[in-house]
Amino acid sequence: MISRREIFETLEMIDQQHLDIRTVTMGISLLDCADPDPKACCRKIYEKITRMAKDLVRTGEDIEQEFGIPIVNKRISVTPIALAAAASETEDYVPFARTLDRAAAETGVNFIGGFSALVHKGFTAADRKLVNAIPQALAETERVCSSVNVASTKSGINMDAVALMGRIIRETARLTADRGSLGCAKLVAFCNAVEDNPFMAGAFHGVGEPESVINVGISGPGVVHHALLECKGAPFDLVAETIKRTAFRVTRMGQLVAREASSRLGVPFGVVDLSLAPTPAIGDSVADILEEMGLERVGTHGTTAALALLNDAVKKGGLMAASHVGGLSGAFIPVSEDAGMIASAEAGTLCLDKLEAMTCVCSVGLDMIAVPGDTPAETLSAILADEAAIGMVNNKTTAARLIPAVGKTVGDRVDFGGLLGSAPVIGVHPESSALFVSRGGRIPAPLQSLRN
């Protein structure tokens, strides 16, 4: 039998160290919903989502109850709408977002991802309609999340898309200005987007995926932090080993939940996403882990190295514990969702340039960062281009989720509530990138050999 010590250790992880399953996400293909009549297409989409995911939330709650482990989010990802809606004869894609929102409400999930387009090499007519509909779609809906893939290692960076996304982000901020520009918290621009990511706002159900699938995102920064308290002053070998052991345990639990959810719902298991996702709760912070390694405050010199170790050890520990690993898999550093990151940004230690450096060694990018509301669209685009370049050259997924909070400036704070937390507004460089962004075209794909 499991020993008493092991049992209470597990309970302590759940009760005091915020161990939980961050999300059980059901991916659903909408490719068979295509219809020349947009209304018919919407009807098919609604019918399919509500049919496939009708038991998702209840099943999640049952598992939560039986295992005694919280499953914080139950979510849905769908085929990028630019593909599902491409056959429909309409200029207006906002009704598709409304349909997704209604289906999410009906099934009880808190977010639905996939109001998306993949434009890393260029736009189809449908892609363009979708991207142009994003600001209105995010302003009108509550649970819909949107993502646009603007670059990839194989095809380079679509700078026309990058330029457009800067304007789209600004417009989304404007249309949701009364809610702290919340729309931007549900909008991600990707490089190398993955098809099986269970985490929002960037989740969508890729075309290589089956009809439907269950992907699980784990979490547990609090547990890793707690484990590191036991190795104060120890060399990094021991730090890495401790993180690996902890990640292994956390992932085993994720795998168990994933298998259980998959068998109860009769939907194939896809991947476990080995991510350390923080929440704004005290003690559930990735920043705390980095500081525990000996940094006075996250963002100071040494942060990138600490994060590189953490990110790698989490993957090494988790890989052995899960039968299939995928999604984003790595440590997340969303500023607004991490108490330690917020504190450091407010103190002025953590700046945009350091965050960008950190994204070179972790998943997934410049995440949940509030910038001044008057930041020009071209500057936003240039930040996206920098982030896409890091992903493109390093063969990894990067993303940017920037919130130009209308009416706010450096030193102010934007409150999103719930898991999205609150973000101190961080400064951007005042010098213009307008001429750079206005060039358009594509930045060619990088060389894959002679890597130095």
């Binding site: 039998m1 499991i2 049992i7 209470f8 597990t10 039986e66 295992f67 005694g68 345990r249």
Partner: protein
């Protein structure tokens, strides 16, 4: 299905008897008990088998939780698999 019941709180007379009586009333078989008192705090773990129990898992777990509240104890029941997954390769 096997589950682990944990009971934690201030020690008093009859905790084990109370929990066991309830479990037997629902046809839940107790396979193993491990109990200790540290500085007046009672901590017990039980391995139980719900094979013959006709009540749904959720219901048993909820009844135990409510009884725990009445006795000012934390009582919870979780499937054994979760502990196996985390502590055994």
């Amino acid at each position: 299905m096997r589950a682990i019941v944990t009971v934690v709180g201030k020690d008093r007379v009859g905790i084990i008897a109370d929990v066991c009586t309830r479990l037997s009333g629902w046809n839940v078989n107790v396979l193993d008990i491990n109990q200790t008192v540290m500085q007046g705090n009672f901590a017990m773990t039980m391995l139980v088998d719900l094979e013959k129990c006709e009540m749904p898992f959720r219901e048993v777990s909820e009844q135990l939780r409510l009884r725990g509240e009445e006795m000012k104890l934390s009582i919870r029941m979780q499937r054994e698999d979760i502990f196996e997954a985390m502590h055994r390769v």
